[in-house]
Amino acid sequence: MLYELIIIGGGPAAITAGIYAARKKVKTLLICADWGGQMAYAPDIENYPGFEKITGIELVNKFKQHLKNYPIEILEHIRVEKIETISGDNPIFKIRTLKGEEFQTRAVIVATGKVPRKLNIPKEEEFIGKGISFCAICDAPLYKDKVVAVIGGGNSGCDSSLLLSQYAKKIYILQFGPNLTCDVSTREKIRENKKIQVITNAQVKEIYGDKFIKGVKYQDRTSKEIKNLDIDGLFIAIGSLPASHPIKEMIKLNEDGEIIIDKNNMTSQKGIFAAGDVTDVCFKQIIIAAGEGAKAALSVCKYLGK
């Protein structure tokens, strides 16, 4: 079977693209590994119009239910391994999943979002799940009355710290630079929260522990002194990387690994479009990703002559 469009992703860009494509009667398959993408990990979303305050999971469910109202084929909890072009001028693409299933399509929308950046320091892998977590919303409740550290002083790290303060007795934020880089309103909440201590100019060098994490060694970037910080848990929130690996050999990426798109969301390969945080769109927000998904789907319709 030849699809007209395959959408890869399960976040706001992919789901919105799916809704728009289905409404235009485009023969579409949506393949997603996880519903919601990064949105699922947000404790409270207060900047998506129409919802003054909503949890990430609730918003994901609303998006998902809306999509499933339409007769769109969906393969869920499945990862795409590779995308290949199998013919030239009016290209047909072959998508292969990690399970070995293959699908062919005239157009693709890559909306695979981002994955958390790791520290890439010794023992990080060893302690994932044994005191190291990338998901505060999942694991914060497990650290009741404990001492934890969050690496990262941006919005993600600071939001995680505020969430952790509902459970942990002490939270250290280890920020690489001289200042927190989160939103001003968040910075004020951090300042007012007596459980949170911010340590700036801190570079984490090593993790220590035995069966579970016991602490981190970090360097004070100004004095160069190495210090130990004993903790029960470590949350890593140092940003994310675009999930462009299934396609990186086929299309042009920028120096950050993001897919370069034109104003119609087309990539450097005719017939392959991209939307959301995996692209070089300037700002990474749910509302922007949703808008980009809609735009990509409408561009696909024009490309297909529909």
């Binding site: 999971i57 909890h77 919303i137 694991d139 409740p141 579970f212």
Partner: protein
Amino acid sequence: MEKKPHIKVYSTPMCPYCYTLKEFLKENGFEFEDIDVSKDKKSLDEMVEKSGQMGVPVIEIDGEIIMGFDKEKICKKLKISE
């Protein structure tokens, strides 16, 4: 008649993978004991003891522990065709 599997899911309230796993079990008609480890220290300790780690979700199917929403392993254990 094949005996129903005894399933326990250890989870926290807002964890997306926990939610996905529980919805998956419900959609496939499986009943399970839903244990919120954020409210119950004894269950949290039990989960850490059984799984050797602290991440959620953890699913126990007839005594076998599977960490995370490992769809392939879970489908194999529960004989769900993917």
